[in-house]
Assembly symmetry: C2
Homo-oligomer: 106 residues x 2
């Protein structure tokens, strides 16, 4: 789902900025698995993964409300992925959870 | 200023996702000028520009509150830059204004 899709305001956004480490063994498989799993979550409105030219991963997920995000954070397979990320794949990461109040664009 | 800088919650985020067109004449100069101007705005808490591997620009600006964002949107030089962007440089753009309620990270 594209970031330009129509979503009713307000909605929630989880913005990940991930700096990857050197050992990326199984990272891509896990990312694909998480993208598949998250798409089945109630309240999930879509999202997008981007890579920056300096090698970071920007991942944006849109949600109907905070409860949907909490449910997803409670998902056991997701928790394992986050744990592996922190221990193995991520040199640093930051997640900002925000409530989107306005959209402008063309 | 880096996205990892300490900011007191809640704060506001303006997330731009810009798909550039082919004519980028003067775009970089204007970007630099806007970065300099915005850094002088009251309520501005920093930001970061990133380029994605598929050629989009992701620009994140952090703000103390909505009023600071409104003031910046009212800035005449900024309005001219946005107008030029829409008419000339941007194939598409989206700005999402959101209130950051939680941060997680390492």
């Amino acid at each position: 789902m594209n970031t330009n899709s129509t979503k009713n305001l307000p909605y929630y956004m989880a913005l990940f900025i991930i700096e990857l480490g050197d050992d990326l063994d199984n990272f891509e498989e896990m990312s694909l698995k998480m993208n598949e799993l998250v798409s089945q979550q109630s309240g999930y409105l879509g999202g997008e993964d981007m890579e920056t030219t300096d090698g970071r991963i920007i991942s944006i997920c849109y949600w109907e409300n905070l409860d949907s995000i909490k449910d997803w954070r409670g998902n056991l397979e997701h928790q394992i992925a986050i744990k592996l990320g922190k221990e193995k794949w991520f040199k640093s990461y930051q997640i900002q959870i925000s409530k989107v109040e306005y959209i402008l664009g063309i």
